[in-house]
Amino acid sequence: MGLGNPFEDPLRFERGAPPCSMVIFGANGDLTRRKLVPALYRLAHERLLAPGFAIIGNSRTALSDDAFRAKMRESVAEFLEGEALDEGVWASLARSLFYVAGDVQDSALYARLREKLEQIEGQFQTGGNAVFYLATHPTQYAIIAGRVGDCGLAHGAGWRRLVIEKPFGRDLLSARELNGQLQRAFAESSIYRIDHYLGKETVRNILALRFANGIFEPLWNRRYINHVQITAAESIGVEGRGAYYQEAGALRDMIQSHLLQVLATICMEPVAVWEADAVRDERAKLLRSIRIMKPEDVARNAVAGQYGPGRIGGEAAPGFRQEPGAAPDAQTDTYAAAAFFIDNWRWAGVPFYLRSGKRLPRRATDAVVQFNAAPHALFSSLSGDGGPASPNLLTVRIQPDQGISLRFLSKLPGDAMRLRPVSMDFNYGASFGPRQSWDYETLLLDAMRGDSTLYIRQDAVEASWAAVQPILEVWSDQRLDFPNYPAGSWGPKAADEMLARYGHVWRNP
């Protein structure tokens, strides 16, 4: 509900979307099929879409509205993750699906889109509101935004917003260039850059954990926190995306975007008010506080890896260079790890270790906060275990099993004062039931409602590129000795050595 509606009831009415059209470029692609339309269906199922909502799909393939609807129905049924498709809900949503074929470089396409938008505006009473969702290859972002702007579609009777997916450039320079191109058509306040990690319940819950509880924040600083590890491990390889991944790599694909956003969420200062710009200001401020590595520091603080052939679950797994689409001498980092430091009063001297890799032993994303040991090891001579090797850990499990655990030492029953680490666990599924919003549901709804809290602003994008830029430059200037870890292992030895230099070890999920 917008401002001024006397009948608002924020406790009861879920945050519904206002009437609008959503134009999806790349409507025939994987993102639309796997994520966007299933998420929109779920929003419809939860009655969070306005009666005046319509989708206009676009791609080059010629399709009728009905063929597009049939295709999307198939996708929704396939990607509902075990939920049954409600035919009534689908039938209602399907009536709002339209399709306009055309090449995004062709100005005539935008004339047809304008005509369709005007028709829908009358039919669905959208008030002229429209979201342009670019589910296309990133190289087309500037072209589409430019054409939308040139054809006058960036402004209308209602609001107009542009949504794009990462990557936002390939490095700092190209990110700045892209931002400039997008801003020629849309104001920064109308550009919504998605990092779907920020839509994940557990990532959002980090802010609740920190700022809604009195016990954590007093400890949340360099005096009590020893270091933080953020891991995004995938057991799969590039799954046919070898050609794309060859251009991206783990540092660009995961660390620059998702993991630095998680880092910012863990480390940002509290906001005075829960408002989009206040949250985004703090997140961007934190990212700007990351110490920029000097080229000579990169070898000490960053490790690139690429998987070679190995075995996973007893089966042979190919190396990256054997993947379809990957070059036999590819220099792609399928694994990246880096130690970052934040130069501010709260975090000075605390290392933040970020790593992401493919073909690791299991799929798991988590952030582990390790606290300093008790100042005096009172029980170490009596115990033999549970000493410094078992520090207190606060683990935020982001996927697949979302939850939070706190590890602490406890006395084993019996006469002797023997200690053992135990864990207090909070599990989302056990506490809140099986139904959880998907990240794309949250983010799409927010974009329609004009809530940009979970979207990344230009300054944050540029700050996160600035943090990894020296690593990118050093790595691109040298020939990396790949492959350097077998598929199914936890990454290259050099990553263990990097932590060992700081007196730490990786905690594998």
Partner: protein
């Protein structure tokens, strides 16, 4: 009356968990003991136990709780009976079972006033306590008991009451945060009405509303109608005229908003089969998904708001007044 020892009941719960864990261990899966609140349920002995069990089983999935179900026997019985059990389920793709515990007590109505401290001793410590009184008769006759349970919230169901006004006035007075499934049943009506006022012309015209007509079915004006009227007046924060019009059909059949002048603003939200239709200045928009809701779904919504609900509190006070006027 046989005494009910809370310590013994808790010990029985622990035995139950030990046995669940043993069985789980034999079958190579784990058991998670899930509990985020205590839910005390008061029902008449004649109330369908299977329906209560089903409702609690569904509610537990979203709000895991220790359920204490008190079945009230109208006549004096020789014993206060109890048993403990667990409700378990598995999430798709997961091996571990998630289980919630349930204590069932059968007690004579006359013994209820003495049961308060025993029930308080059986709640899960340090977690919110919500009381759900399914029967309006039990709610009205045992009203004093519910103030002694240290509950954070009390949920009644005034829909089945012969005199909804009494239930509403008790809810105004009760110490815990009040709730009423009759109010929860109109969430969809309110939501659609609010959505209709999202449309800029309607929102701009809200200040012109002079009269509201609530169309209701049934033999008497249902509490849902008083709530709808109370909510509108509270939302507009002024003395608009609220009129109740009796029609055939469901407890709520529609609501209409009109300005003072004949040609001024008019907006109608009416039931049409399974749909609710919004009509404004000649334009018609249909909304779907307005089928009746299960008790479990209503309870889940209420358990999602463990404290005071300011919108409901305001609507309740006015609804109780409206019910009082109608009674006179």
């Amino acid at each position: 009356m046989a005494a009910l020892d809370p310590g013994k009941v808790v010990a029985e719960l622990n035995e139950l968990w030990a046995s669940l864990e043993k069985t789980a261990g034999e079958n190579a899966h784990g058991v998670v003991r899930a509990c985020a609140l205590t839910l005390m349920v008061f029902a008449e002995e004649s109330d369908d136990p299977a329906a209560i069990g089903q409702t609690l089983a569904l509610a537990m999935r979203e709000h895991p709780h220790r359920a204490i179900v008190v079945r009230v026997r109208p006549q004096d019985g020789p014993h206060l009976e109890h048993r403990v059990l667990a409700q378990c389920w598995k999430r798709p793709g997961q091996r571990d079972q998630i289980c919630c515990e349930q204590i069932e007590i059968t007690a004579a109505a006359a013994s209820l006033p003495d049961l308060g401290s025993t029930l308080v001793a059986m709640r899960a410590p340090d977690l919110p306590v919500v009381v759900w009184v399914r029967s309006p008769a039990v709610f009205c006759s045992q009203f004093a008991l519910f103030n002694t349970l240290d509950a954070d919230k009390l949920i009644a169901d005034s829909d089945a009451a012969t005199d909804p006004g009494t239930v509403l006035s008790h809810l105004v007075e009760i110490a815990p945060a009040p709730g009423d499934l009759a109010w929860t049943r109109i969430t969809r009506w309110r939501e659609i009405t609010a959505q209709a006022f999202e449309h800029p012309p309607a929102r701009d015209a809200a200040s012109q509303i002079a009269e509201v007509r609530v169309f209701c079915g049934g033999e008497r004006i249902p509490s849902a109608a008083f709530y709808l009227g109370g909510w509108v007046r509270a939302a507009l924060d002024r003395e608009v005229a609220i009129r109740f019009e009796r029609v055939a059909g469901e407890p709520i059949e529609g609501i209409e908003f009109a300005g003072a002048a004949p040609d001024s603003f008019r907006l109608s939200v009416r039931r049409e089969g399974r749909d609710i239709t919004v009509t404004e200045a000649g334009g018609v928009r249909k909304c779907i998904g307005c089928a009746g809701r299960s008790d479990a779904s209503l309870l889940i919504e209420e358990l999602g708001i463990p404290g005071r609900d300011p919108v409901y509190d305001k609507a309740l006070r006015i609804a109780a007044q409206l019910a009082g006027h109608e009674r006179r």
